[in-house]
């Protein structure tokens, strides 16, 4: 009993000392990790990639990147955010490289005309996947397998106006949304103006792809349609069996194709980015080895992505193909 007293008294008489020890230990913990984080920020063998949620969720990167790390020792930290966010992170220099699928915005990102310093340099086409239109198996808009895109959009508009179809849009700044808007523009429709204030005709969910798909599936009148990337579809199609693919890329048409571009952040604007490591990264992605990996990645037995480096002109208009091939060849060497 008196020993316990003595211990308690010792502690209470040396309160200050014990407190200091506690602070040191705690500070040590925090400090160690803090310093590690500071070092990691400078470590060229760690780069940060910003990409879109649909890209990340497809699982491709978790399949691809460990190969890169194994070969080069460079860790790639992936931020999975919206397209708009990824681009802004790139502009701010908070990340070293971005991988997105929104060509017009990519072009703006690397724009060096008009006298401004581009946010990114040496963009490369990496791959493409495709978008499909899925809808209730009843198919009230009566879309047919071989309809071209103009026909598809026209039929949809007709059905929406008649009250037989509800179209579910992402309604956010995502690549999918950009694609959807461009499709509507083929028939001269600006959907959010066309069906302004009529959510039962055109619903802007503001959510991610999975949630939007869910809402399409849950449509009260079983008349939902939506535009979705194949990757997300393959993840969820088993669950939403009343939905079917009602329109997909028709031979000769590329407007449902979804090309991806990888863009290193401009060293000139942000000297702290690990440009050299990014060069090797893009070299990997565009090398035969990397491109082959992309082609062999499957989900639920189906391939999702198609390698596109150097051949993107065959799938869609790509004015920079020649420039890209000549720049990146060197960096692909180490991966043969």
């Amino acid at each position: 009993m008196s020993e316990r007293r003595a211990l308690k008294t010792i502690i209470s008489e040396h309160k200050a000392a014990f407190l200091i020890i506690f602070i040191l230990v705690l500070g040590g913990f925090f400090g160690t990790f803090f310093i590690l984080d500071l070092l990691s920020a400078r470590n060229p063998n760690r780069i940060i990639l910003a990409t879109t949620t649909s890209t990340y969720d497809s699982g491709l990167l978790d399949y691809l990147l460990p190969e890169f790390t194994q070969k080069t020792g460079i860790e790639v930290s992936i931020l999975s955010v919206g397209t708009g966010q990824a681009l802004v992170y790139g502009e701010n220099g908070d990340v070293d490289v971005i991988l997105v699928h929104s060509r017009s915005r990519e072009d703006a990102f690397v724009n060096d005309i008009d006298g401004q310093t581009p946010f990114g340099i040496n963009r490369a086409c990496v791959m493409y996947n495709d978008f499909i239109i899925v809808g209730d198996e009843n198919n009230p808009a009566e879309l047919l397998q071989n309809d071209n895109i103009t026909t598809v959009m026209t039929k949809l508009k007709f059905s929406i106006d008649a009250g037989n179809t509800t179209f579910y849009s992402r309604g956010d700044g995502s690549g999918t949304y950009s694609k959807e808007i461009s499709l509507w523009s083929f028939i001269g429709v600006t959907p959010d103006i066309e069906w302004f204030g009529e959510p039962d005709k055109y619903t802007e969910t503001g959510q991610g792809m999975a949630a939007t798909l869910q809402m399409t599936y849950q449509d009260a009148n079983n008349q939902g349609y939506t535009l979705i990337d194949r990757g997300t579809w393959l993840t969820f199609n088993d669950t939403y069996t009343i939905l079917q693919i009602l329109a997909e890329s028709v031979v000769g048409e590329d407007n449902l194709l979804n090309p991806y571009g990888v863009i290193p952040v401009n060293l000139e604007l942000h000297p702290q980015v690990k440009y050299n490591s990014v060069l090797r990264f893009v070299g990997f992605l565009t090398s035969d080895y990397g491109q082959n990996l992309i082609n062999t990645y499957t989900k639920n037995g189906e391939t999702l992505f198609h390698a596109a480096f150097g051949i993107c002109n065959s799938t869609h208009n790509c004015p920079t193909t020649e420039k890209e091939i000549s720049f990146w060849t060197i960096y692909q060497q180490e991966f043969t």
């Binding site: 009993m1 007293r5 003595a6 008294t9 008489e13």
Partner: protein, 363 residues
């Protein structure tokens, strides 16, 4: 030598509805080193507030308090702590810290910088003197009310302060603890360096312990004087009604072995009492117990019989208070108006004063 001087002290209390209550108004008094100063008064008269202000637990609204010439209300935080370390304050309701008995009693010494090895023996000794041996490690809050009170007494008295502030402590003590407290207080009274300021309801406690008494009523000082004066010649009707009348004398008591009677020598008078307590005592006799006679009564059973002269007469309506001078002492006797008329009592009248030994209380 004046230890604490209070000048024009007032304390106002602001109620939620905007009204102001004057708890203390314009209090002025002076407390001397070594004395036992007692404050008495009815409930709500401000006794506790006054004590708390003297203990720096509350600040006055107005007025100044000087301790050895220094204004304590202006003290800095450090000076306040130093001042508080010169005193101890025992509350009405016992309150202990959530710690062991040992730890509670040791606390006052600990905060004054005493180390474990230094205070351990003192604490152990104190625990024994309050009769709590064996309970050192028990949590003080788990004790019975009476035991807790003893812890409070112990923890306050172990620090041997210069000033003891005791707020109606005996009101909540059981008799055993009153005895313990009394023994501590009497020890302290012998030390002329220690000052005791206590508040009480109990007239007899006031008479017993006080060197001087301050009567407080509705926040104002009514009278400050020695117990004898206050109980014998209260200033006004209120005081008279509140304190009651008593004859109070200090003397030396000794039991006569033959007769077994206790003789108390008070200056040049010897009074017989049936109380057996000896030594320096205070003696108390009700004015109503004293009988006046024009002629020396013969063959009476009462053992105290003296001759004196009427010095003062106060007409209180139905009752007459007569002050009789017997040798160098004054006795207050209470008789009916009828008796006064019948006996023809006037100033200067020679009378015989007579009372029983059993009516002489030793406090």
């Amino acid at each position: 030598m004046s230890l604490l001087k209070v000048k024009n002290l007032s304390k106002d209390f602001y109620k939620k509805d905007g009204n102001v209550i004057s708890v203390l108004s314009n209090i002025s008094l002076s407390i001397n080193k070594g004395e036992t100063f007692t404050i008495i008064g009815p409930n709500g008269s401000g006794k506790t507030t006054l004590l708390r202000i003297l203990g720096l637990l509350e600040a006055p609204t107005q007025g100044e308090i000087t301790f050895l010439g220094k204004e304590i209300t202006d003290f800095s935080r450090k000076e306040k702590t130093l001042y508080r370390r010169k005193l101890s304050f025992v509350r009405q309701k016992p309150l202990v810290r959530d710690a062991s008995v040992f730890d509670n009693i040791a606390y006052g010494l600990k905060v004054r910088g005493s180390k474990y090895n230094q205070y351990k023996p003192l604490v152990k000794e104190m625990i024994e003197s309050v009769g709590l041996s064996g309970m050192e490690n028990k949590n003080a809050r788990a004790l019975s009310g009476g035991e807790m009170q003893r812890v409070v007494i112990a923890m306050n008295f172990i620090i041997t302060p210069e000033i003891y502030l005791l707020d109606e402590v005996s009101a909540n003590l059981d008799p055993m603890n009153v005895k313990i407290l009394d023994s501590f207080i009497n020890k302290i009274k012998k030390d002329k360096e220690k000052t005791i300021i206590l508040s009480t309801h109990d007239r007899y406690e006031a008479i017993r312990l006080a060197d001087r008494i301050a009567v407080l009523n509705e926040g104002k000082i009514n009278q400050i004087n020695s117990p004898r004066v206050i109980f014998q010649s209260p200033k006004d009707e209120f005081t008279a009604h509140f304190v009651g009348y008593e004859n109070i004398f200090s003397g030396n008591a000794r039991v006569d072995t033959e007769s077994n009677l206790n003789q108390v020598k008070i200056n040049d008078i010897v009074i017989t009492t049936s109380d057996q307590k000896e030594g320096e005592v205070k003696v108390c006799i009700h004015p109503e117990s004293i009988i006046l006679a024009k002629n020396s009564p013969q063959n009476v059973s009462s053992l105290n019989l003296y001759k004196g002269k009427v010095d003062e007469i106060r007409d209180l309506g139905n009752l007459i208070h007569v002050i009789i001078k017997i040798k160098s002492e004054r006795f207050l006797v209470s008789i009916t108006k009828l008796s006064q008329q019948k006996l023809g009592i006037k100033i200067g009248t020679e009378v015989y004063v007579n009372f029983k030994a059993t009516d002489v209380k030793i406090l």
